[in-house]
Each structure stands twice: as structure tokens, then as C-alpha cells.
Point group: C2
């Protein structure tokens, strides 16, 4: 029986992407990448100052509708700085999905704070605002305008949802929870450039949002990330913190707080500018790929291709197959069969509390996240596959 | 009187570098930069995996004589990871120069540790081992193999000298202090690629050494750095920590400690490989520039060009003018006159305890560092100026 299922899955993927070895996600450089890199070299400005950094920031802000974008070395750095700017301090707690890439938890740890793990919902694959509200009602109290975890006596400072594989979370629900429980909302939009919740870009609902341009993302700068915000002062402070907190002066070296060397180099921004120009065509390609996977899988029982949440437009960064509960136990068979056929697939991440550094983190019941952990796998998703 | 001095200095610099506006330090791309960037794009491997990263690491190890080099996003990240690997913990102290770029202190702060500021010596511009030994004798005791600061009751874990402007510190003296006081020696060699202490490259004497390839350094990768070590296990651990501490697995996401997203992207390493090929010619150019400055300044009273310490070969990264005490009060007049003439000069950094985040750090008497702070300025130093 399971051989029939794995065989059908392999054939369905091959039907869409062909037979050759196919990676999970590789970038595509079909625009002005070479021109801009050459222009960058010729200018000699390859490092933390240069016109491509400024341009990339302006174009990111323009595309997402955020008032400001600050370009940094990667998405983890963006998250770290956003948490610092939200006032996260040592021994605070930050609410994050149990089901996320480890960078979300790491950024919290860099602040000396503690990730507090929250359950997901089936439909968005992201934080569940209803379950979270009930949970917070039970374990927290508001004292002097701060949300206190009564079980740990720590301040819960930030609510940090992540848009899984580009699918927007229920932002309306989470904004409401954040408001009622005095939490700052920061969106980990590392995976969701080009994803819209209703008519507004992900990453622009919270006080700050963060993007990633790692090599496996929808657009890449080699390594890179950005902080989005509508607050001019926060943007200014983000830029300051990411450039060693140096105050402008003709020649003096005055750094007025503990700063970071997190600025995106101009060389990487040059690549980013070229990539951003192609984003609309990348998104169209990813949507076509989704449609073809959906067609190829529609007659296979016990599995389905994950679709964007209602009212949202996902970037379909990584195409995702959801197994029915009845076959979830065969996830590894499917991973083995597809990878052996040269079709790179992978499971979703392990829940954060299964990792040694986060095993003791506070967490709510993770009914849905535990299901999703067993039932989701990603299919080859490169831009330009079809 | 001072007008005569500033005028002589402006003329001496112009005599060497010409009249046009001259920056302090700009990179030079005269080799295979473009070829390698193009090759990198064509491979689609622009991010944290790729052959240029491996090659850059192998060539750095080969050049410096270190057994291993691990390439990271910048020199600050290299220092941070080196301190983590040396076991620096929250509330430890790390001995650093009072006179350094702020990144040295920041990396200590990232560990939750406290920079402890040490005086410099005139000749090397770096840590003074004799003064440090006397000071440590007074304030520390060894308990259970650890160096305890009796004034603060904190463990002093690491001794972290920096090779100022490329001039090697007294490594023999500092190694002896480290041994006698149970300190791990880590070298901040951010400025000293191509600098040799006797017949061995800086950054290879300590348990680890760190390099920087920022845009203003002798060679650049846009942004970049590296950790050097002769210990295979440390190198392996450094690579692990800088790549989110992910354990190798066919598809599972297991991260076994709090890791960092610090790996150098392949795109930046491609630039680094091309730059490294030109390092010998860059160093020759810098030495010629030094000689010409020395000739141009030899008849100007009250100032002198800083020369490499005895028995050392400096990379002469930044050319440095030392003012006699008698004219140190006119430093800002000289900075103004030179910068107004389009010749970019700058003072050395402010001592770390003058910066708000480090004002309360423990420190010894800083007799020499306070002198140097007033008396040193950097002259235009780009590779290829002559």
C-alpha cells in the first residue's frame, strides 16, 4: 500500500518538474545581476556604504508599502535588532511558534530572553490567535501595563509570529491578542516577501517586520535581510544599531550604545536590486508551479497541496504537501523515495522544544503543531522550474 | 607657529599622494574579481555553501600558516564566536586594549561579559605585557586554575590583544602573561592580515585569531571575517556555531546549541579569493607608501611616521603620524587642515571607557593609551596610491 502512495507521489512530482535531479530551491539570476555587480565593483563601494544599499532599501519600502526598510546581513540579524528595539531584555519572554526555523528562537536567545512556544493552526500553518488568547488568559496577568507570565514571573514582551513557507498568519487575530495583552507585535516575514494579507504586505502589520534574502529565499542577496517599519525613529535607530552605533562626526569615533556590525554590504545589495526587479515574474512562476502541483496531486488519495489562506495571497515560496493523518506515519518513506529519485524534499522543522537549547522553554499544548510536524513536507520549489 | 606645522603636513602628504581628493582607504579591484563573481553567479551558489568559501578558507590557512580558517560575515562575528569557543560566559571579564576599535569591546558584550581595559605601549601601539603583568599581580589571584579579579570577584577568562593598524603587539610577552595567569589568548588580527611577528603570521599565536575583510581593510570581501586556529576541533566547532549549529542529516533540522547565522556567503568569498591573490602586491604597495611618507616627513619637526616594531613585519594597513607631546594639543588643527585640503585623515579611536556603554568597565591606569589617543592620526593609505 505505502509503495503505491510513494510511487504516486514521485510520479506526480516528476510530472511537474521533470526527471533530472531537482534541488529544493535554487536561485535564478536572469536579470541585471551581472551589470549591477560590475557597477558595484567599478565604484569600489562594495562594503557597508554605497548606492545599491540605499536603492535596495528604498525599493523594498516601495514594494512592501512599509515607510522604511533597513538592509542587514541576514534575517537572523534583522530579528535580533527588531527584538532589541522592541525593548526585549534579559529574562523577558517572547511568544514564538513552536513550529518555525531555529533562527526565530535564536534571535530571542541573543537578547538573553526566553522563547515561549505557541501552537499553530492548520489552515495558516502559523500561530493560532484563538488558542493563544485562551492560554494567555489562563497564565498571565497585566501589571503596570506589562504582560506577566504568572507561572514564571517573567514579562512577556513580544508576540513574534512567522509566515510559514510564505503563507500569511491570521494577522487580524494576532493584532487583537497583542493589543489586549500589551504585547509588541513583530512579524518574522523571512519567508514571505511577496505575500499579502488582504491588501497589505506581510511584515508591515507589526511594529516591525523582518525579511530574509538567504540563498534559498524567493529573492537572494547571497546573505541578507531587512527590517521593515512605519516608524521613522525606529528605522533610524535600526540603522544606528546595525552600523556599530556610531554617531555622525567628521572624524571622531563616538559609539553611544552597544552596536552591531549588521549592515548589508553594497555588493550584496547590488544583487538584491537586480533580484527585486524580477520579483513579480518569480511570484508568477511560483504560482504556476503551485497550480501544476495541485493538478498533479488532485487524484492522489491521502495527500494534498497546501493552499494560501482565505483572503491572502501567498508567495508560495516553498510548495508544501500535507499528508492525511492516516499516512503521516509514512512521512519518512515518502522522503526517502523522493530523495532517492533525485527529487529533493524535506520535512518541516522539528518543534523548537525538541532541540537541546530550547527543551526547557515554556510552552502551551501544541496539539496542531505536533500534527503539522509529522504531516508536512516541502517539494522542489525553485523559481523558473516551469 | 601651528599654521607652519599644519601647512608642512598638508604639503608632505600632497607630495606623496598628489592633490586630488584622497580618501583614507579605498579598495583596489585589479585582479580576477569580476571573473570570480561571474563564475559564482553562473554556479547559482551565492549563499552560505559554495566552492569559493572553501577555497578562500584553504588559501587563508595556507597564507597565514594557521591549520584552519573559518570564513564568517565580518570581523566582529569572528571575535564573538572565538570568545564563545574560549568559554567566555556571562559576567566573565576579558582583557582588551583601551585603545581599539569598538568591535573588540562589543564582541565581549555580546557574550554578556565585561571588557577590562588595559594600557598600551608606545612602540607597538598595542597591549603592554609588562604593565599588564604588574597590574594582574596586584588585583588577581589564581583559584582552581582560574584568574579571579579580586576587586570584582569575576573570572578573567581571556586576554584579547589587537594589532593596531597592522603593527604586531609583543606576542611573546603576552603569551607569557596568558600562561602565568591562566588566560586564553585570542588575537584580534582584524587589521593585520599580512603582518608577521618574527617569522610567524599574526593571529596564529593565540588559541584563536580573527581577521576582518571589511571594505576599508587590506583585502576586502565587501563584509567578511575569519577565525584562525591550529585546533581541528575548535575549527569544526566554529564552523558548526556559525552555521546555526545544525547537525548534518539528510533532511532533519536538528540544531544542538544556540547557533549563529555568521557564515560568509559564497558571493563575498569569490571577491575574497581574487583579493587574496593580490595581497603580496598590495603589501608591497603599502610598504612603498610608508617609505615615501617617511621620506616626506623626515624634516618636519615634532611629528614622525610610525614604523613597524623591531623584529616584526607590519602590513602598514593604515599609515600613521605620531605627534610629539609638544604639539599634541594641535591634533584637531591638523585634522581640519588636512581634511579641508581634501586629504582624508582621522584620529585614532577614543579610549573605550569614554564611550557610554563602556564607561564603567574596570581598567588599569592608561598612561600610554591616553597619550596615544591624543597623538596619533592616520594618513591616506589606499593600496595602489603609489
Amino acid at each position: 500500500m505505502i509503495a503505491i502512495l510513494t510511487n504516486s507521489i514521485v510520479k506526480a512530482i516528476q510530472q511537474v518538474v521533470g526527471n533530472a535531479p531537482v534541488p529544493l530551491h535554487e536561485p535564478r539570476f536572469a536579470g541585471h545581476e551581472w551589470d549591477y555587480l560590475k557597477e558595484c565593483l567599478d565604484s569600489t563601494f562594495v562594503s557597508s556604504v554605497g548606492k545599491f544599499v540605499d536603492r535596495f532599501e528604498a525599493e523594498l519600502a516601495d514594494y512592501t508599502g512599509a515607510s522604511h526598510a533597513v538592509a542587514v546581513v541576514n534575517g537572523t540579524a534583522a530579528l535580533h535588532v527588531a527584538l532589541c528595539l522592541a525593548g526585549v531584555q534579559s529574562n523577558d519572554e517572547v511568544l514564538i511558534p513552536a513550529l518555525t526555523f531555529v533562527a526565530t528562537a535564536n534571535a530571542v536567545a541573543y537578547c538573553g530572553a526566553v522563547p515561549h512556544l505557541v501552537d499553530s493552526e492548520m489552515h495558516t500553518l502559523g500561530l493560532d490567535p484563538l488558542a493563544l488568547r485562551d492560554y494567555l488568559k489562563d497564565i498571565t496577568e497585566i501589571s503596570e501595563g506589562q504582560c506577566i507570565n504568572c507561572l514564571t514571573n517573567r514579562v512577556i514582551r513580544v508576540l513574534l509570529p512567522m509566515h510559514t513557507f510564505g503563507h500569511p498568519v491570521d494577522l487580524e487575530g494576532l493584532l487583537s491578542v497583542a493589543r489586549d495583552f500589551h504585547l509588541t507585535l513583530i512579524e518574522d516575514a523571512a519567508e514571505s516577501l511577496g505575500s499579502w494579507y488582504h491588501d497589505k504586505h506581510t511584515g508591515t502589520f507589526g511594529r516591525m517586520g523582518t525579511l530574509s534574502f538567504n540563498g534559498n529565499k524567493t529573492i537572494t542577496t547571497g546573505g541578507g535581510g531587512a527590517i521593515l517599519t512605519n516608524d521613522a525613529e525606529l528605522a533610524q535607530h535600526a540603522k544606528h544599531l546595525t552600523t556599530t552605533a556610531k554617531r555622525p562626526h567628521r572624524w571622531e569615533y563616538v559609539h553611544d550604545e552597544v552596536g552591531y556590525n549588521y549592515r548589508m554590504p553594497n555588493l550584496n545589495a547590488a544583487l538584491g536590486c537586480a533580484q527585486l526587479e524580477q520579483l513579480p515574474s518569480f511570484l508568477a512562476s511560483k504560482r504556476r508551479l503551485f497550480e501544476q502541483y495541485q493538478a498533479a496531486f488532485k487524484d492522489i488519495p491521502d495527500v494534498q497541496i497546501v493552499t494560501e489562506p482565505n483572503g491572502c495571497r501567498s508567495n508560495y515560496w516553498l510548495q508544501t504537501l500535507m499528508l492525511d493523518e492516516s499516512v503521516a506515519g509514512h512521512r519518512d518513506d515518502i522522503l526517502t523515495a523522493t530523495n532517492e529519485a533525485g527529487l529533493m524534499t524535506r520535512p518541516i522543522w522539528k518543534l523548537m522544544h525538541r532541540l537541546a537549547p530550547y527543551q526547557d522553554c515554556p510552552r502551551m499544548e501544541l496539539y496542531v503543531a505536533e500534527q503539522l510536524e509529522q504531516r508536512l513536507l516541502n517539494l522542489p520549489s525553485s523559481t523558473g522550474l516551469i
